[in-house]
């Protein structure tokens, strides 16, 4: 049984116009996607800006209204309860945000930041709460005197770890990480990624890892979803997708990653031109007449591609 199962999820935003503010059409941010995450697994969700990857994360989190589709958690359909506070689902699913500057309240002490989820769900004495926070800080590798400081006193990497401590407070089973390292420098990024892998093992956590950085995703995930225009274009085991991309969009995306071997420069340039040509000439094969991505078809073991 999958920990999280998402079936035919749709999130459409209405566009209002005219003097009466009537709904004139919809932006289909997410338009019918399905995936599952097992316990302790990391699923990578990749796409460029506007692909719908963040909206997907927010929908699973219950932060945006779902237009259609269902979400199953631990086998139970929780679609109707997803936006409700104080449901057990809210406890089991937590989020790490991209920007640790704006996701930590600057006027609160670290103690109060990490305690917030605890105070929402568990009535504990102050002493117990403090002990739990000490524990959490230790997990993220920070000293206990950190508690009485404010977010501005920490560097980007440290702040991101405080965000992770807050996410871990309620012992969740699934963490939605929306671009958790894209604001960080390379060496700090390495630290946070290693750390995320550690806590995953320690607590058997599942991650929905949303990122635009294919290198990071390759490092973190077993399974991948590539999104484009609110739909999934390719889905499967990482190796299959990296070594044998089938959809033209995936090919183009992979070709665009800069390589850190300067010797491959010409080769890559040539390859990129080839892919660009293919993209031009075969675009219509991969998208239907409304520019919509087709439904997924199975092309091999653990490999699905959106083909007509």
């Amino acid at each position: 049984m999958a920990l999280l199962e998402v079936n035919d999820l749709k999130v459409h935003y209405p566009i209002r116009g005219g003097i009466l503010g009537r709904v004139q059409s919809y932006v289909k941010a997410v338009d019918g996607i399905s995936f599952r995450i097992d316990e302790g697994e990391t699923l990578g969700l990749v796409g460029e800006s506007g692909s719908g990857k963040s909206t997907t994360g927010k929908a699973v989190m219950g932060l945006v209204e779902i237009t259609a589709g269902e979400i199953l958690f631990d086998g139970k359909d929780i679609t109707r309860y997803i936006g409700k506070n104080h449901s057990s689902y809210r406890k089991s699913v937590q989020m790490i945000f991209q920007d640790s500057y704006s996701s930590l309240n600057p006027k609160k002490r670290i103690l109060d930041i990490i305690a917030e989820p605890l105070r929402n769900f568990e009535k504990q004495t102050a002493g117990k709460e403090k002990k739990r926070i000490e524990e959490l800080l230790e997990i993220v590798g920070m000293s206990s005197e950190t508690m009485f400081k404010y977010p501005y006193e920490f560097s980007g990497g440290q702040r991101q770890r405080i965000g992770i401590a807050r996410a871990l407070a309620l012992r969740p089973k699934l963490i939605i990480a929306d671009e958790p390292v894209s604001a960080l420098d390379l060496s700090v990024q390495a630290q946070v990624l290693n750390f995320m892998k550690d806590i995953q093992k320690q607590f058997n956590l599942a991650f929905l890892f949303i990122s635009h950085d294919l290198g990071v995703v390759k490092h973190m995930c077993k399974n991948l979803i590539i999104m484009n225009k609110g739909r999934i274009v390719e889905k499967g085991v990482k190796e299959r997708i990296f070594e044998n991309p089938q959809h033209i969009y995936t090919k183009r995306l992979l070709a665009a990653i800069p390589d850190i071997n300067p010797d491959r420069r010409e080769e890559l340039q040539h390859f990129r031109e080839q892919v660009a040509e293919e993209y031009e000439s075969k675009y219509h094969i991969y998208y239907d007449k409304d520019q919509r991505v087709y439904d997924l078809k199975k092309t091999g073991d653990d490999h699905f591609v959106a083909l007509p």
């Binding site: 060496s187 390495a190 630290q191 294919l214 665009a256 800069p258 890559l268 340039q269």
Partner: protein, 332 residues
């Protein structure tokens, strides 16, 4: 001076005033950029790479910033010039591309007008010529309908288009040197690839020099001819791009390359983490090897008291002697 040398920076020190005291963000950097060459400056936030770029055109606020040293552009020292003299160079001989086109472009001016601005200032052109040149530039940077874009505002364009418009502004007067400060950081990877290809193509056409400031090692490997790696205000290693990537020597360069994810992605693999933190401007240790606190297992005697550049190969320089017997933790 070398025959085709465009820009030479000699012992540049750029310091910012904090609480009445000056702290050097760029601390004794020397480098030289030739015609038809892409020179990349790479490093993490706070290493001084952008402070260096802004110093070249004196774009720092002079009340809070002190710039010392020499910056020769084709033999004339830019740092001795007053504003009027500098303005003759800004945008004409030296073009600049900024990271974030949304803040660098004027939101109240049409794209066409913004490109024409530098043409008006530097070139004697009538209205018609200017428009023709602007359209030509927009076409050159790969904008599909230049006539339309000419009369659009920045908010009407996508991120990639805006960045193209900014490149058009930088190239308007055919500068011989372009300074690109993180030109693709705000863009998606497919757009990044397009913009980098475009820059490469234009650079080859115009035979100009480019100073490319970036934190992305992949971009460096794809674009640059020469690289300088910066740490805590200093260049710690510099050389041809092949040399730096295939034979990185300075502990910082090696550590940085080891923390790139996705290169060796076997399950359970850990990325290399550099110990400690980048020192802040105020608390930076300025004596001895600045990277020493981050490699504490290296014996003190391996470092030099006053680190010097060692030429390990022709044109490949490494700062401080600690590279000689350095091995990463876990390599034994």
């Amino acid at each position: 001076m070398e025959k085709n040398e465009l820009l030479r920076i000699d012992n540049l020190i750029t310091s910012f005033r904090i609480d009445g005291q000056h702290y050097a963000a760029v601390d004794g950097v020397s480098l030289s950029v030739s015609e038809n060459e892409v020179f990349a400056i790479v490093g993490e936030s706070g290493c001084g790479k952008s402070a260096l770029a802004l110093s070249v055109l004196s774009l720092h606020n002079s009340t809070y910033t002190k710039v010392e040293g020499n910056i020769y552009f084709k033999g004339t020292d830019l740092l001795t010039m007053n504003v009027d003299e500098l303005n003759q160079f800004r945008g004409k001989d030296i073009g600049m591309i900024f990271q974030d086109p949304l803040t660098a472009l004027n939101p109240l001016m049409k794209i066409g007008e913004q490109i024409e601005e530098s043409l008006t200032f530097h070139m004697k052109m009538d209205k018609k010529q200017k428009k023709a040149r602007t359209i030509e530039l927009l076409e050159g940077v790969g904008i599909v309908s230049p006539e339309l874009t000419y009369s659009q505002f920045p908010h009407e364009l996508s991120g990639g288009m805006r960045q193209r418009a900014m490149i058009a502004i930088a190239l308007a007067c055919k500068p011989s040197l372009v300074i690109a400060d993180e030109p693709t950081t705000a863009l998606d990877v497919t757009i990044q690839a397009q913009i980098l290809d475009l820059l490469k193509k234009l650079q080859k056409e115009m035979k100009s020099g480019i100073i490319l400031i970036t934190h992305d090692l992949g971009v460096v490997a794809e674009m640059a001819d020469k690289v300088a790696v910066m740490y805590a205000g200093q260049v710690v290693e510099t050389g041809a791009v092949g040399a730096i990537f295939k034979n990185p020597l300075h502990p910082y360069t090696r550590s940085l390359l080891a923390s790139v994810p996705g290169v060796d992605s076997a399950e359970g693999n850990r990325l290399h983490v550099i110990e400690g933190m980048v020192p802040s401007l105020k608390n930076m240790e300025r004596e001895g090897c600045r990277f020493a606190p981050r490699i504490p297992w290296v014996d003190k005697s391996e470092h030099e008291e006053h680190p010097e550049y060692h030429e390990v190969d022709k044109g490949h320089f490494v700062l401080c002697s600690c590279y000689k017997n350095f091995s990463m933790r876990g390599e034994g």
